[in-house]
């Protein structure tokens, strides 16, 4: 992502002390612990003009859930201000910058998986596809139920591994049917889960993050 943004002529800063948005604790019901982590995040990005991230789910956490997490606390206004500054990478390129061609080249057949947070909380659907359409040599095929959850769901994947696995298998089958070389998505967690499953079951599936595709030249 940094490479692509710099290629487009932007100055990228990164607070080195950043570790996590706090979502694992939030999703597990530990909102006090999540708040403890999120408070630090609000502080480190206080002076940022715009915040861009490569994750649909982290984006959703900051854009939608920080407001809920800090509702009724003194940091509520700051959480809202922070949410307004956060952009998911593909949305930033297409919606904010109005750019769809980032000069990428990647001759391969790919299919796109719509990660749930990105799709339903951030509103990603057209943006990644618009970017992929401009990648030289790339062919995009849609799989059935591209919008269907892959089964990761954070701690859900280890609390209810049997259900998580079944959902992942359905996604893998759907992707295999397209004969694509790669599954591309905006969320590494989805990709990690799908790849992990495919590797264990020896299925010929490879995953790649959208930012990786866009960085290829």
């Amino acid at each position: 992502m940094v490479k692509v943004l710099e290629r487009l002529g932007h100055q990228v800063e990164y607070p080195e002390e950043f570790t996590c948005c706090g979502q694992p604790a939030f999703n597990s019901g530990y909102w006090d612990e999540a708040r403890a982590v999120a408070e630090k995040v609000l502080a480190m990005y206080r002076s940022a003009e715009i915040i861009v991230g490569v994750s649909g789910s982290c984006g959703a956490m900051m854009m939608t859930f920080y407001k809920e997490l800090f509702h009724g606390t003194p940091l509520e206004a700051e959480a809202k201000a922070h949410a307004a500054k956060v952009w998911e990478f593909s949305d930033f390129l297409v919606t904010k910058l109005g750019v769809t061609d980032v000069g990428a080249k990647f001759p391969a057949k790919v299919t796109f998986h719509d990660g749930c947070h990105g799709l339903r909380e951030v509103g990603l659907k057209k943006q990644p596809r618009a970017l992929l359409a401009k990648v030289q040599g790339l062919e995009l095929v849609e799989m059935d139920a591209a919008e269907s959850c892959c089964g990761f769901g954070g701690t859900f994947s280890v609390k209810f591994p049997m259900i998580s696995t079944a959902m992942g298998e359905v996604k893998c089958d759907s992707a295999l049917k397209t004969n694509a070389d790669y599954i591309v998505s905006c969320d590494s967690s989805c990709l990690m889960h799908i790849q992990g499953l495919a590797d264990r079951q020896k299925k010929p599936l490879r995953t790649m993050h959208l930012a990786e595709v866009l960085a290829k030249q």
Binding site: M63, R120, E121, V122, G123
Partner: protein, 229 residues
């Protein structure tokens, strides 16, 4: 304190804290903002219907085909008679059931078959063994291909649902455009004193409970025929 008072008390206590109105939650998923006043006109959002009788009749016919309702426009009473007799003959009707009404009186006279009248009290097993139930109606709805009727317009509750073939006699001016119009019509007609039952019927009885395969005539009528004069 009665149970009623207890429940209402709990409700009032609960409602002292306000809940947010839908649509006030902002977010990318929120495509439609809240309305200022609570919406009452649904026609602009429901499926579109044309204004002329021809358009409505065409839409009703299209919906009927999909629902497997036999919908026929008839020009006059003579044509109605011909069609009824043909139907009775084709289906092999031996006994029909009906109620007193301008169109139904004409129909059962024309058919000349043994008849069960559901005007006053009648015998349930007589109705149960009838081959067809002929009724009038309050309205037809073009938008959905539905028939609107009540205990008063259709001879009680069972007549339109117990016999295996339900025949509806309607007039052209009863063909309304959409569901909002249908409910307005019911309010206008019965508002001062509602019948104990009104019904919106859309097609013959059906079920998809076995392997999601459509089967007609689950419990109600297997056939629905509508003559619109």
């Amino acid at each position: 304190m009665s149970e009623r008072e207890q429940i209402l008390g709990r409700i009032r206590e609960a409602l002292r804290v306000a809940a947010p109105k839908p649509g006030l939650l902002s977010g990318p998923g929120q495509r439609v903002p809240a309305h200022e006043k609570r919406p009452t006109d649904f026609s602009p959002w429901l499926p579109a219907v044309g204004d002329s009788f021809e358009e409505r009749a065409a839409l009703f016919a299209k919906n009927s085909a999909e629902l497997k309702t036999d919908f026929q426009l008839v020009a006059n009473r003579d044509e109605l008679q011909t069609k009824l007799l043909a139907l009775a003959h084709a289906e092999g009707w031996k006994k029909i059931a009906t109620h007193a009404g301008e169109l139904t009186n004409y129909a059962f006279a024309a058919l000349g078959l043994p008849v069960v009248q559901t005007g006053g009290r009648y015998k349930m097993d007589e109705l149960e063994s009838s081959d067809a139930g002929i009724t009038e109606c309050d309205a037809l709805v073009a938008q959905t291909g539905s028939v609107v009727l009540s205990t008063r317009s259709a001879g009680g509750r069972a007549l339109s649902v117990l016999p295996p073939h339900h025949v509806v006699l309607a007039r052209r001016d009863q063909l309304l455009r959409d569901l909002p119009a249908a409910f307005t019509a019911l309010k206008q007609r019965y508002g001062s004193s509602y019948p104990s039952m009104m019904c919106l019927i859309t097609g013959p009885s059906r079920t998809g409970d076995i392997e999601r395969i459509l089967v007609l005539g689950a419990h109600g009528p297997k056939k629905l025929t509508i003559f619109c004069m």
